[in-house]
Every structure is written in C-alpha cells, then in structure tokens.
C-alpha cells in the first residue's frame, strides 16, 4: 500500500539556513493496517502527514502509494491522487460554514474528474449514522456529529488511505470514543488508516505504532509492545 524510502524534507528558513524536518525516513504500510504516528511537536510528524497526504512533496526519496510513485508528481496529479485515494480527517473538523452536512460531504465529488452520483453523499452520511442531519448546517451539529460528517466527506470517494490528524483532539470523551469506534469499524472493513495522535488511549486502537523524533523514526512496534524486525520497521 505505502512504501516510503529515504524520504527527506528540507525547508528553507528566512536567514538562509535550512531546516531538515525529515531525515531519510523509510517504512512500509500494508493494506488494511491501522497505524498510529506519535511524536512530540517538532518531531516531523506533521511534515510526514502532509507528504503522505500528497499536500506536499518530499525533497528527496520515493513514495509509492497504491502502486504509483507520487514523489515527483505535479500539483495537478497530486490533486487527482488526493481526490481519489486519500481521505483526510482533521482535529478541527474543517466543515464549510453556512453549508449543510450533505453539501459538505459532496465537496470531494466536485473535484472528481468525470460523472458523479450525488446520491452517494447521502449513502455515505448514512454510513456514519447522520442521514437525519443531512439538511442541517454545520453550526447546528455537535462536535462529534461534525467530525462524523468530516469522516463521511473523507469516505465518499472510497479512498485507499485515511489520514486522521488528532481526530479526537477537540472532542469530549464520549464523542471521541464514538469517532474512534467508527474508525475501528472502517479498519475492520479493510481500510488502511494512518492516525496522528498524542493520546495513548487513542493510539491503542491502532495495530502498529510509529514513533518519530527529530525527523527520524525512533521505533516501530505493534501495540502488543513487541518491536518489529528492522526490515519492516525501517532504520531507526
């Protein structure tokens, strides 16, 4: 599903010196895996998420997603990949204001090249249990409901990879649990999920954990605590 090899990302900073956010990272993710990415702020996990989400390109290295080497793709090609293969879930939900739940879910369909069936949006809302809220504006929904609408939006184009960035960070315990249950169900349906979190309880839903520190992978281990062999886990 995902093969990342020797990915580096260097940012030019004002003043001339460069910052290396990612220092030669390599790892694989198999189809259907549920992986948690953890690390303190500044560890490079945001940069990694942006590259995996095709919102940014690595400075060097290769990134294969679902059989395509996307590391050198143009903006247009990356947009197509984001649309067809990736579903994003954010900490702040990021629903459009003054827009109904249904219209929010439909947005990825706008950018799909070719004919789309708008009935799919309602079916996807049904999947997250919110079909009764389809005509409600985003501001009329609770936080947990908003996040479920966002999940429906991420699911509508049946992506091969779901990227969740602190999906429970802005939710109370109960709503957070609902969202995690939903992600777990998606995992059981066979979807590949990559989750960035600080929260141990949330990370516990994942079957594998990637720890980042200083732009490198510190460890890669299954949640049972047994470290994976370096061949799978990549260089520390």
């Amino acid at each position: 599903m995902i093969q990342v090899e020797n990915i580096r990302k260097t940012y030019a900073r004002a003043g001339g010196d460069n910052v290396e956010a990612l220092k030669s990272i390599s790892f694989d993710i198999s189809p259907g895996e549920f992986v948690a990415v953890r690390g303190s702020s500044g560890s490079g996990k945001s940069t990694l998420l942006n590259i995996l989400g095709c919102l940014d390109s690595p400075s060097s290295g290769s990134y294969h997603l679902d059989g395509e080497d996307v590391a050198r793709y143009s903006d247009k090609q990356l947009s197509r990949i984001r649309n067809a293969k990736i579903g994003f879930i954010f900490q702040t939900f990021n629903l459009l204001p003054r827009t109904t739940a249904l219209e929010n879910v439909e947005i990825p369909l706008v950018y799909f090249d070719g004919h789309v069936d708008r009935r799919r949006a309602l079916a996807t809302l049904q999947r997250v249990g919110l079909e009764s809220r389809a005509r409600h504006y985003a501001s009329e929904l609770s936080g947990g409901e908003q996040q479920r609408v966002a999940i429906a939006r991420a699911l509508i184009n049946s992506p091969v990879l779901i990227l969740a960035d602190e999906p429970t960070g802005n939710l109370d315990f109960k709503a957070g649990q609902e969202v995690m249950t939903l992600l777990e169900e998606l995992h059981h349906d066979g979807r590949t999920i990559l989750l960035v979190t600080h929260d141990d309880a949330v990370a516990a839903y994942a079957s594998r954990e990637l720890r980042l520190q200083d732009g490198k992978i510190l460890s890669s281990q299954t949640v049972s605590g047994v470290p994976l062999p370096p061949a799978i886990g990549g260089r520390p």
Binding site: S79, N94, T99, Y111, F112, G114, N157
Partner: protein, 406 residues
Amino acid sequence: MKKVRLVRQAALALMRYRMRTILMMLGVVVGIASLAILTSIGEATKRETIERFKNMIGTFDTIMVRPGGGRSRGMPTLVNVPPTLRFEDAKAITELPGIKSIAEMQSAFDIDIKYRGKAASPAVFGVSANWLRLRSDEVADGEFFTQDQNTSLARVAVIGTDVRSALFPEQDSLGKTIRIAEVPFQVIGILKARGAGPAGGSLDNVILIPVNTASRRLFNRDYLTMVIAQLKDPVQSDAATNRVAGLLRQRHHIQPPGLDDFAITNPAATMARVTQARSTLAKILTGVAIMVLLIGGIVIMSLMSIAVSERRREIGVRRSVGASRGDVVFQFLLEAVSVAFVGGLAGVLIGLGGMQIAARLEKLAPVLVWQPFASAILLSVVIGIVFGIYPAWKASRVDPIQALRS
C-alpha cells in the same frame, strides 16, 4: 462536468456571503449605470444634432457657395449680401466636373407681404426650380414653380406654413394673389412644415419665388445670396470644394495673398466637425464613468482579497479533497467575474431607467441605443477578470496544511 460543478460551487459561495457579494457589486453597478446613461445621452444628442442639421441643410451631397469671404466656416449669412457672386459664376460652376446641378438663390428679409389687410414679413427667397430637390424640401399642397415659369419671370409664390397661418388664418390660400412689396404674386403651393432650425428659429416663415422673377421684378439685383451645388459623388466634397474655389478665384482675378471674396460651406465636413466635437465631450464623460468602474473593480479586488483570508480554511479543505491550484483559481475568478457580470447587468437595467428620465428632462427623443449597453456588460466582465486575477492567485497560494491546522 467538473467545470459545471465548480460553477455551482462559486454560485453557492456567493450566496453564502450575500452581504459581501452585494457590496462587491455596488461599484460596478454605479459605474456601468453611469457609463450606459452617459454614452446613450451622448449618442442621442449626436443623433438629434444630425437631425437638426439635416433639417436645415436638406441634403449632404451639396456644397454651398456664398459671397463675402473672410469667414470660412459656419452657416452662410443671408443679410447684407456683398455683390460678388453673380449669375455667370453660377453658370460656370455648373460646367465643372463632378457637379451634377446647381440652384441659385437670392434673399431679402425686409419685405412686407400683404393680403387684404393682413401683413407678414417672412424671408423672401428667390430660388431655382430645382430647389426642392437640392434642399430635400417638399410641397405639402399645390405645386412648385417650373423652370419655364422661372425663365418667363412668372409672378408665382410658394409659401411656408407660418406665412399661410399669418395671411390666411381661416381660408384656402392656393390661387390667391398676395402682394410682395406691392407686386402681385399668385400662391401656387404650400411647403411642408419643417419646424425649428439648429438655432431654434422657425424654418417655415418663408416665401419662395422664382429666382429670375426676384432678380428682375423685385430686388433688381444681378448677384446671388448663395449658390447650392449638388455633387455627383458626395464623398468627393473636399475635391469639389477646391475646384469651385479655384474657378471663382480665377473668375474674380484673386491672386494669393489676396483674400477670397466668396466662402464655401461643405456640410459633410461641417457635420463631421460637429459630431466630432460632440464625441469629444462624450469621451470625457465616458472617461469619468470608466474611472468609477475602475474603482468598482478595485472594490471587488480588495473585498475578494479579504474574503480569501477569511476563507483560508475552506480553500484548505478544497485542496485536501482534490482541488488543484487551477481549480481554486477558477472558482475565485469565476466568483469575481459573476459579481461583475451581475453588477453590470443591474447597472444596465438602472441605466435604461435613468436614460428614460434623462431623455425626458433633456427633451431628447428617448433613443434606445443597444451598443453602449452591450459594451458595458462586456466591460464589466473584463473588469471582473482583471480585478479577480490577483485574489484568485492569492487563493491558490494558500498553504492548505497551515489553513487546516489553524
């Protein structure tokens, strides 16, 4: 298909931020409305001027020669005629190449006309028999005199409607004998009313009699007030003017630096000057309206730029679900163009209404000229594109990651 969906997204966004959309439109509405009104008034005024001019001169395929010289432009003076333009000059002009025919004219303004105790003092014009054709005049009742009547010095008269109302308020005038400076003339025709000339005075307070009759029986003059020469080719009016001038200089023995003792009016050239002067004024007014329109464009640009900052999160979402930079540019540019287009449309509608009011106030015929309105709408679309490009570009440069994390 995708483009259609993007259009819908742009429309939804404009409706979502209704207040801002209306504010963005305002400048364009005002600019386009004033532009449409000003250009339409300019156009209507121009047409009105041409109409009045035509009314006075009759046709544009003629040039007019009058004695006096000095002044070289403007309309001929008909009073105090210098005795320099003679019947023989007129005959010589007829023989020039490019001249189709000529009409001679003598005039007097101080002659009393009487009919049974009623009196009038219209302009008395002695003219050739072909006068009607050269002036695009018409006889409403009765008939005009013939060349034979001119040659035989017949005492016949064709009167204008003002004269008829003065002398014959309640009865038929045809066949009656009126006295022009105590000489009896028979009324054989009534001219069609022409209304006001360019200066506003009536063109109907006039009596036409054969020019030879006027010369021998009334005025006792052998010089002319004016010679009208009809051209074979109206486009060649400048060449004909030069030819006539050359001929008259030769006949009158005028050598440079001597001044001409005649003046030639070329209505086609004068008309061109008049309409050009009008359009210069129109250009200034149009310039002002375009300034307003530019300000409208700047309003769109600044409000749109603010909107981009406020909608960073939306842009981030769109990018994350598959919008390319081009898609973002397209949507925001489309929003700007739609605002400008709808504003332009509203401006045109307001302009149409304003045009009706202005036409009534200015007593112009409410001319509906569609070109200014069509170009106004086109212009508003151009404004939308020009002033939408910067905010659209700015929108495409929003960093989705930062926008989504804020």
